[in-house]
Amino acid sequence: MDMIYVTHHPLASLMITLCSFSAFQSLQKRCNGHSLLNPVLWSIICCVSYVELTGIDYETYMNGAQYINFLLGPVIVALAVPLYRFLEDIKKDVAAFIITVLIACPIAGFSAYFLMVMAHTPPDLQQAIIPKSASTPIAIEIAKKIGSVPSLTVIFVIMTGVSGSLFSTYFFKLFKIKNERAQGFAIGVASHGIGAARAFQISETAGTYAIIGMSLMGITSGIMLPILVIFFL
């Protein structure tokens, strides 16, 4: 039997994706949730290495991994549930939340876009960075809508998430931001779900506000960014 039957089997790539994520998730748990052991980052590295080492192409990998990929749509819809659960917290400061997100959303995306333009990077990369502060599944959908490359977008989204979860507490110390609600909300808005996981380590309040930030940023990005791109770029 040739190894090609094993490596080209759809269940092989499905198993690699599931197992590497599960393994790094438990490793991160054991190491007190250290941000550098982010399971998303490491399972992507594992799967990319697997694709490279076995010499299968991305399409062959997707034959198996599509069953996970399919769930991206339903999970975005499911994000309405945590948002509803925190409705009472949102109502307390609804104007502050909405105004802040409406300003932060275009600035987060287009400041990065203009940096990429000024550096004369290829157009593929310039557009791919725009949805970087949205929750990853939403960022992928936005990238598709604006005709960009979802997998490049994901790199920026993860970069934003991991750097936010690594450095945000130092940033708050440096600028003397002590309010946990503001800390959590800012982490959620700037670095979505990966940041929110870190915010829960600060406190329950910070975590809750991070989830609110990430959800509102996700919805706002999904509506605002494609419209802005279509009208202005």
Partner: protein, 113 residues
């Protein structure tokens, strides 16, 4: 559990149809999410089946976008050339967003507690 999944897929389906039919720039999944959010507000409760499925899916959120990310294998050359500016643009604007959000929220939110 099946009912919860049916509800999510139904909202996604309707959202996608609306997005495609009216040629909206907004992704169908976002429209589905907003419709589910409004439905939850109107019904004032979360059905146990939706609660179960959404918790399950969201707990695996990180894993769900691994397959799409592996697509970077097709862009290795591009990344090899551009990684310094990619890192710089990604991380510097993260700090900008973080600071701006904290600043605006502190200014605008009610001072209580």
């Amino acid at each position: 559990m099946i009912n919860g999944f049916i509800i999510l897929i139904a909202f996604l389906f309707v959202g996608d149809i609306i997005s495609t039919f009216f040629e909206l720039p907004i992704p169908g999944a976002i429209i589905g999410m907003i419709m589910l959010f409004i439905t939850l507000i109107l019904r004032k409760k979360i059905d146990p089946s939706i609660d179960l499925v959404s918790r399950g899916l969201i707990s695996a959120l990180g894993m769900l976008f691994v397959p799409a990310s592996v697509g970077v294998v097709q862009y290795f050359d591009l990344i090899q050339q551009q990684w310094p500016i990619m890192l710089f643009a990604g991380i510097s604007t993260m700090f900008l967003t973080l600071g701006l959000t904290a600043f605006l929220f502190l200014r605008l939110s009610k001072k209580e507690e």
